[in-house]
Amino acid sequence: MSAVTDLAASAVEQVAAVLAGAEVEASVNNHRLSLTRFANSVIHQNVAEDSTTVRIQIHHGGRTASASATVADSSQLVALVARVSDAVRVAPLDPAWGGLTSPARPLDGPEPDVVIAPAERAAVVRAFVDGAQGLETAGYCRTNFWIGAFANAAGQLVGGRASEVGLSGIARNQGSDGVARHAPLRIADLDGAALGARAAAKARAAVDPIELPAGRYEVVLEPTAVADIVESLAGAGFNGKAVNEQRSFVRVGADQFDPSITLIDDPLAVGSTFDNEGTPRSRLTLVERGRTVALTHDRRTAAEAGATTTGHAFDSTFSWGPMARHLGLQPTGAADDVAADDGAADGVATEVEGPMADSSVAELVAGVQRGLLVTDFWYTRMLDPRTLAITGLTRNGVWLIENGQVTTPLRNFRFTQSYAQALMPGNVLGIGRTAMPIPGDTYTATSPRWSCPALHLASWNFTGGASG
């Protein structure tokens, strides 16, 4: 056993010694995050951390309490055990307790990368800056390593390791920005120069934008923008808690999406092999050819719904509920039994020039008589969860498409759009052939990643231009 599995097992044993018969679970997570940020084409923030956190949850006498703490020595674990053991005695009754996970071995994840030195990250940044060929650049290069374990009083004891790297950067040109992102599992697969060149190509194609009037436009959304839709569906759509509370539009068994839409959650691709309740994870199809076929559950929401957990419990202060965090939209031509994202095969496209992310986007653009090419969405916020109505802005490049060609750079728009409506049957006119892994904004080795191809949609509701 590793040090973290020993620590998890020890936490459960120490609670058992204090509260005989208690249902106990313990998670141990060691994160080693390093992140190098650059702006104005120089590194301005460069950070690293190494910390181990233990979380203990106890259900005893019908009451539940949980607590977590950074643990650097045995005395801190003893203090944590004492604190949560005391808390459960006075905690309120918890009739919705979902019970403990029975012993089950998870599948193995990919072999993680080694710990990476700060000079290696700086070299990737150097390559991105040079790849932008004189344009001002900003962004980050991050590396993550995680080792974790879970133990409970029912005998479940599992451990895992994972690594992740990511680069997200922009090139800036006379007030217009272009973006490139990539999140492979190993730094050897991170091509800083190609990403810098891609961001620069977009920025160069975006100068002197004009403003178009607000209104409904046909759109091609690049993978970076599609990631926002996928993330919103994961958080507010397929979330078992949101469905239980009738806050979600999702209904299992209903044909809610265009038949071209298949959505698969694949946490194994990044090495997230068990959830926060110790449940082994697996690939889970949520939408199959337009029909909603599953929700994401933890033990608590599953018990409430009369379902079984899907291994989507995660530690959240505010009980957001169980969410898919590695959701992918299947690209056109993907076989149903093939992972949407194997985490290593996708690189940075070099076969195209100009504003389009890759040849797959170019194929979708060729099918548009008049519409918009959108790179990125920004600051999206929910107006109503039942319709998944969301407002936000475009960012990092918008262009007019005319007769299958990108013709004119545009100023940013504000939109107010129901994401559910945008994907309804008949509204999806095309899906790209290749999916890109897009990094999420939390910084752990198993942090959210969205696997997204480009999308060609019949209509998007732009409700304002840059001037209001």
Partner: protein, 478 residues
């Protein structure tokens, strides 16, 4: 090893490894959040963390390393690694870098706290939250939620320039939220604010909020909203309640005056700012009624402290005076780069995060009117209160907000309740249209301000009062 000794050891290790400047913070933090839903406690979470973060400058490059283990060998290694990372920064570095001069400070500061929130029994908190959700359900809510949170932070700061500061900050707050579910839509009502209201105070502040006393009204109003007419669309006179105006200040003023954004340091993520340093002191940001201060000394406000995380003593400063932009939120490095002589607004979300420019208390000075007077002086318009959604562009210009409730205003009186109220605009145009401002200031607290990579959550305060704005576009819909 004491916390001060650990910080001093890390700083010395960084200097020994070649740093020309270093500072370190040891922090112990506790956070407790309890929530209830539909008559039952939903969750109780207690977290604590301890550790040290050391920041060093080698040449012109910065490096930061954080570690939970405060043993001598561990903090020495942290200091050495911070210097190693700073040296790597120089591989893609700028030519020079400096800090706004700072006198070495030795000091100690604590926030006011009459009742320690961590000494209040969970059963007391649970009973309060459960009762509030029961009342909301009884009066119309389909989904009734209540939450209380408390934080305790102790920190010790040491720099290679001689700073030696300790602080003890306690924060508390609570809120309730009722959701009514209709045919294809939901409506929500909250008290005292979306996500609750928070202060740098103890449990006595939660008791003052008295969430149970407001639960029946909140549940009833959520239900009423389902049958209310939709907010009309068009351009009109807009009156905002103080809680919504607090978020308007946060998003369109507070973030816009962050100097790191203005300098482009956040360009790839949080964004930049429409403000240009060349216009500091002359740019018209809003009407003459607009006076915004940056003031971390306000007793009990959520953005208050004794010293920022670079050791600069808390001090009030003007950001907008009579509608003219005159000040920024700055740190010692960003201030020096901009040619300014002040910092003072740098904080970190815990020991494992790099200190960065953050809002403190950024808010309006009071105006000459009352909300009643503003409504009485308005022939036609919409009154909106309690934030429901927010979105703003990466330069902090183009915003759209939604609120939980709106009321038509006709002939100087509040009229019909309307649902799904939204408004949109451009920052300086919007603020220039403010023609009436109330004196009824409340220091609202925002406990969820996200910024930075890796992400940091900031606690900020925003004094605000009801105000009136002209020719605002309302009723934007999907």
């Amino acid at each position: 090893m004491s916390e001060f000794t650990a910080a001093e050891t890390a700083v010395q290790a960084a200097i020994d490894a070649g740093a020309r400047y270093a500072d370190a913070r040891v922090m112990h933090r506790r956070h407790e959040v309890m929530s209830a839903r539909n008559g039952d406690v939903d969750s109780v979470s207690q977290t604590s963390d301890s550790g040290l973060g050391v920041r060093s400058m080698v040449g012109s490059g910065w490096g930061f390393f954080a570690v939970a283990d405060l043993a001598d060998s561990s903090v020495r290694e942290a200091g050495r690694k911070a210097a190693e990372i700073a040296a790597a920064s120089g591989l893609v570095g700028r030519g020079d870098s400096s800090l706004v001069p700072s006198e070495p400070v030795t000091g100690s500061w604590s926030s006011d706290c009459a009742i320690d929130p961590f000494e209040v029994a969970l059963s007391v908190k649970g009973d309060m939250l459960v009762r509030a959700t029961e009342l909301m359900r009884e009066h119309g809510a389909d989904l009734a939620e209540a939450m209380c949170q408390s934080w305790e932070t102790r920190k010790w700061f040491v720099s290679s320039e001689g700073h030696r500061i300790d602080q003890h900050i306690r924060e508390s707050g609570a809120g309730i939220m009722a959701t009514a579910i209709g045919d294809g839509e939901t409506q929500r009502r909250s008290y005292p604010a979306n996500r609750g209201q928070y202060r740098t105070r103890g449990w006595e502040f939660v008791e003052e909020l008295d969430i149970v006393a407001h639960a029946a009204r909140v549940g009833s109003e959520a239900r009423q909203l389902l049958s209310a007419p939709v907010c009309p669309s068009g351009e009109t006179t807009l009156i905002l309640g103080s809680e919504q105006l607090a978020l308007q200040i946060h998003e369109s003023v507070g973030h816009a005056i962050e100097l790191d954004r203005i300098l482009g340091w956040e360009a790839a993520y949080a964004g930049t700012s429409w403000l240009d340093l060349a216009q500091l002191g002359s740019l018209k940001f809003g009407s003459e009624l607009m006076n915004i201060t940056v003031d971390p000394t306000i007793p009990g406000a959520l953005g208050s402290f004794g010293y920022d995380d670079e050791g600069t003593p808390a001090a009030a400063r003007d950001a907008v005076r009579n509608g003219i932009w005159v000040g920024v939120l700055a740190g010692r490095d960003s201030g020096a780069m901009a040619g300014l002589d002040y910092g003072g607004s740098v904080r970190a979300d815990g020991w494992a995060r790099l200190p960065m420019v953050r809002m403190t208390n950024v808010g309006l000075e009071p105006g000459p009117h009352t909300l009643d007077e503003i409504i009485a002086a308005t022939d036609e318009g919409i009154y909106m209160e309690t934030n429901r959604s927010w979105s703003i562009d990466d330069r902090r210009l183009n915003f759209q907000f939604g609120t939980e409730v709106g009321y038509e205003v006709k002939n100087g009186q509040l009229g019909r309740l309307v649902r799904n109220p939204t408004y949109t605009g451009i920052g300086p145009q919007f603020w220039s249209s403010m023609d009436m401002l109330s004196s009824e200031i409340i220091a609202w607290g925002t406990p969820n301000c996200g910024k930075g990579q890796p992400g940091q959550i900031g606690h900020t305060g925003h004094p605000a009062a009801p105000a009136r704005f002209q020719n605002v576009r309302v009723g934007v819909r999907a």
